[in-house]
């Protein structure tokens, strides 16, 4: 059995016939080659697979592709604009907030969604927003500092 869905991914409309068990992360990685979205736990805990679904960060490993029918998905590949890093991406680079980098796309999506919603979050609000993303390398400090530096400049756009 397959289900017909339509999905806007990074601004482009697609139609897919998906199986009822196909997850969004698998669809993005396998069918569209959008491998910037990494996969680790597959249980919605680590946040490595975070994408924006209609502007909100979600774990794409526990979201079925069929549940995303009609939605607009943004992945890490669409965060940069016109050949320039977004302020969040540039802040991660400058602050050393990416070490092994496996968690990085998930954090950048989560942080970008936060800043779109709330351009000047407090440190506590940043930490609260990032609590669903795990990182083993950085100890979070530089990630929070990177997001704070963008918050001081005034948002992600």
């Amino acid at each position: 059995m397959t289900i017909e869905i339509s999905l806007q991914v990074n601004g482009v409309s697609h139609k897919f016939a998906v199986s009822p068990t196909e997850t969004l992360v698998d669809l993005l990685r396998r069918r569209l080659g959008l491998t910037g979205t990494n996969k680790d736990c597959g249980m919605g805990i680590c946040g490595a697979c975070t994408v924006m679904l209609d502007g909100l960060p979600v774990s794409s490993c526990i979201l079925l592709a069929s549940q995303a029918d009609g939605a607009a998905v943004t992945t890490i590949e669409a965060i940069e604009r016109d050949g320039r890093l977004s302020p969040v991406q540039e802040a991660f680079l400058r602050h050393g907030a990416s070490q092994c980098g496996y968690c990085t796309p998930g954090f950048i999506i989560t942080a970008s969604a936060l800043l779109a919603e709330n351009p000047h979050p407090s440190r506590d609000e940043i930490v609260e927003a990032l609590k669903g993303n795990l990182c083993r390398c950085t100890g979070y400090k530089r990630i929070v500092e990177a997001v704070e530096s963008v918050a001081r400049q005034g948002g992600p756009t």
Binding site: T35, D40, C46, I76, E90, L93, C100, L134, Y140
Partner: protein
């Protein structure tokens, strides 16, 4: 064998078209320039704007550009037409004979292309290992832990491979299990290995322990217990294998040591080494957990069997149940000291759970033995380490190779001793701390010892926080401070482990430095580029480091034991000097002047009064530019007996003092680590951004290991193979106030005085937290993790012990 595809020259990133690559390189250089201009504001005048002099500058890593764009090529992200997917059918028994394996149903399932069992591998090629070849690629007739791979299946999709694995029927004859080292050592215990149940029995003696204990005015002792821990690198083991157009079996894999896999795969596949290439992909964290074979041999063999590319990615559950762990360890320890605080004796026994196969148990043991007592003078010491097999996943290497537990026990008892003697934790460490010219327990005379400087850096902060805590309004929480120190040897223990580097230059002025040790996420490629640039005098922007490729780099050992900055950094330094000399000589010949009249200086070539750009100089010597090949090998003399450990096991040591501040809710047993100060003598710091990042991450990992992290095991089964039940620190659980202090203690043997750092920032943390808990609520924890229940137990026990005394005191007025 069909020819499939060739990975573009050592590239670890999906770079896009040539125009895109050029564009993004420019973007990176723009950001780098901006960061350097900011940094220049605080640099000594003679260094400002000098493009080759970047050692010591906080610079953003070049690989992060691709990581923040989602373009990093982790193995699972490498596109490959027609790749099959591999999965293991794993043992469901912790200890059993395999009576039979029935693959007939699996074979008939849709999408299945090949099934591999131990019978497909010649018996003399079946066993692999890091130090000893004792681990079967696939279990043959005996399984030693639940999760051990038995059958490897390659299918068209991940789902088909998974389904086929479930259809494999394995007939087991269960055997008695060994679940603890004590059981392993019990008389009559079932023997897990052909050589018995003991993996290693190591001893180090120094002076006269009995005399040392007799000379002591005070003796403190304790038994410590630590649980197994998982590395929790975020990227599960992952690889992709295929045959390249030259007919070379190419395995791209996330690893700390590609050259090791290169040898193993060649042996297991029965191929000459030149027909195998191992390329390290971008590694999504390792921490010692990517040094053993996981996916490598199976996917290589399946490529040979199917003629198709094969990929594999472990699930998180497989990571928890079937990769190596940090050893569970029991430690019994006794310290003697005189009234005035001088240590007289140290007596320690370790009993380690090595799991089902040897892995790095002996390396962990050697390091624990040598580091027992570090970084202090103990005139008399006796250390005994025993590791045994059990029916759990193999225990292997993990950040610090066990020294975190050595420090936990030793520093906790030193804290207790200081209390008994009425001394400050600083004073007792100052009296006994190693200084230049001291001898370690192996008899090594050490130099450039910055331990006391790290204590000095921390002490005023401690005093200030002490005052602040005294003035803290009561909020129902108990606060405390704790310190702990460390000394840590850089590189392999007691055996030579050289690193090499080679540098060449293209006619258009790009300098490539090939270094053997791979970057595993720490940013070592960036540090090596900085060292190579500064040593040779060329600009950092033109240096490209190629690392971790078995055909492009020499075997320079693994990226482990905090050795890359020091060993490969020294190789890059020597290589840079050699490159500079050759380049200058070539320019001199082209100009008909003597070599002494030419020098590379800050990315320009100075010939007498004339200055050439580096590019122009490359054009000038284009006829012989290909002959230039800088070479550097760093191979310090290291020698220690493998029986007594006497000798010089490491070329240099790193030192540190950490301070933590905790808040304890004594009713709930809840601990919050509020702040941490970490002073390190890691020599010169090559890239402070990278170094501080290592410290932050090490501290967070240390807190997790101190308070929460534990692989729960029962009857041969791991009960918590998910992040949901294995508690790794999140952003809300660790302090953002982590202050790194680097004592820039120039090491005379390091590249520009650098030593190394990656592992050490974790080591003192559990001990410092334990001492802070003693400071806060008077308990002396002796278990890791210090779980809430455990701490509550200690707090209540202490309250009960205090209650009758208090009652008695109130009753009769005596104390």
């Amino acid at each position: 064998m069909t020819t499939i595809w060739k990975e573009p020259d050592g590239e670890k990133f999906a770079l896009g078209s040539i125009e895109e690559q050029a564009h993004w390189q420019k973007e990176y250089q723009r950001i780098l320039r901006a960061v350097r201009e900011e940094a220049d504001a605080t640099r000594p005048a003679e260094r400002i704007g000098r493009d080759s002099h970047t050692v010591g500058m906080a610079l953003p890593r070049n690989d992060a550009l691709y990581k923040v764009r989602g373009k990093a090529r982790y193995a699972a992200n490498i596109p490959m037409e027609g790749a099959l997917f591999c999965r293991f059918a794993r043992s469901t028994e912790a200890h059993a004979r395999i009576r039979g394996i029935d693959i007939s149903e699996a074979k008939a399932m849709p999408g299945v292309r090949a099934i591999l069992t131990a019978d497909d591998i010649p018996a003399d090629q079946l066993l692999i290992g890091t130090l000893t070849d004792d681990t079967p690629v696939l279990a043959k007739d005996h399984v030693r832990y639940s999760g051990e791979p038995i059958v490897a299946i390659a299918a068209e999709t991940e789902e088909a491979a998974e389904a086929a694995c479930l259809a494999v029927e394995i007939d087991y004859e269960p055997l008695p299990m060994i679940l603890t080292p004590e059981e392993a050592l019990a008389p009559g215990a079932v023997q897990l290995d052909p050589d018995g149940n003991v993996i290693g029995d190591l001893k180090l003696e120094n002076g006269d322990i009995e005399a040392g204990l007799r000379a002591a005015d005070v003796v403190v002792e304790g038994s410590f217990v630590t649980e197994p821990v998982d590395h929790c690198f975020l990227e599960p083991p992952s690889g992709l294998a295929f045959v390249d157009p030259d007919g070379v079996l190419t395995v791209m894999v996330c690893t700390q040591y590609p050259h090791y896999h290169h040898k193993q795969i060649a042996r297991v596949a029965g191929l000459p080494m030149e027909k195998v290439r191992v390329v390290q992909t971008v590694v999504g964290g390792a921490f010692g957990g990517k040094m053993d074979n996981t996916v490598e041999c199976a996917i290589a063999l399946l490529v040979l069997k199917t003629g198709r590319p094969v990929r594999m990615l472990y699930t998180r559950e497989e990571v928890f149940t079937a990769t190596t762990k940090r050893h569970a360890m029991k430690i019994r320890q006794k310290i003697g000291a005189t009234k005035d605080g001088r240590f007289t004796a140290l007596d320690v026994e370790y009993l380690a759970d090595g799991g089902a196969y040897r892995s790095y148990s002996l390396v962990v043991g050697g390091r624990c033995v040598i580091h027992t007592g570090m970084p202090y003078r103990f005139p008399n010491s006796r250390v005994h380490y025993v590791a045994t097999f059990t029916n759990y996943p193999p225990s292997g290497a993990m950040r610090s190779f066990g020294v975190v537990k050595v420090a936990f026990a030793l520093e906790s008892l030193i804290d207790e001793l200081a209390g008994r003697l009425g001394m400050s934790p600083f004073e007792i460490r100052r009296i006994n701390g190693l200084v230049d010219g001291d001898k370690t327990s192996t008899g090594q005379v050490i130099h450039d010892v910055g331990l006391l400087k790290t204590l000095e850096a921390i002490e005023p902060i401690y005093q200030e926080r002490r005052k602040a805590l005294a003035a803290q309004p009561d909020d129902g929480l108990k606060r405390g401070l704790g310190i702990a120190c460390l000394g840590y040897g850089i590189g392999y223990s007691g055996i030579r482990n050289p690193s090499t580097a080679r540098m060449r230059v293209t006619a258009d002025g790009v300098v490539t430095a090939c270094c053997g040790t791979p970057d595993i996420g720490t940013g070592s490629d960036m540090s090596l580029a900085q060292i190579a640039a500064q040593s040779s005098g060329v600009g950092l922007h033109r240096v490209r480091v190629v690392s971790g490729d078995s055909t492009k780099t020499d075997d320079s050992g693994p990226t482990s034991a905090s050795r890359t900055t020091y060993f490969s950094g020294n190789a890059a330094y020597i290589c840079g000097q050699d490159f500079k000399r050759q380049f200058e000589e070539a320019v001199a010949r082209a100009r008909g002047v003597t070599a002494a009249q030419v020098r590379i200086e800050d990315d320009r070539i100075v010939i007498g009064n004339e200055r050439l750009s580096f590019e122009d100089a490359c054009r000038l010597i284009s006829a012989e530019i290909e002959d230039i090949c800088g070479y550097g090998k760093f191979d310090p003399e290291i020698e220690a007996s493998i029986l007594t450990f006497k000798g010089n096991p490491y070329p240099t040591y790193v030192y540190a003092t950490h301070l933590v501040e905790v808040a304890v809710d004594a009713e709930l047993g809840r601990v919050d680590v509020l702040r941490c100060w970490a002073a390190h003598d890691a020599g010169t710091i090559v890239n402070p951004t990278g170094a501080e990042g290592q410290v932050d991450g090490g501290v967070a990992m240390g807190i997790g290991q101190a308070l929460w992290e534990k692989v729960e095991r029962r009857d041969g089964v791991i009960l918590n193979p998910h992040y949901r039940d294995y508690l790794m620190a999140g952003a809300k659980d660790v302090p953002l106030e982590i202050k790194s202090i680097f004592i820039q203690n120039h090491d005379r043997t390091g590249p520009f005085g650098a030593k190394g750092l990656a592992e050490v920032s974790l080591i003192p943390i559990p001990a410092a937290i334990a001492s802070a808990l003693h400071d806060a609520v008077g308990i002396r924890p002796k278990r890791l993790p210090m779980s809430t229940e455990y701490l509550l137990g200690l707090i209540n026990e202490r309250a009960r012990a205090a209650a009758p005394a208090a009652k008695a005191a109130a009753g009769d007025g005596h104390d």
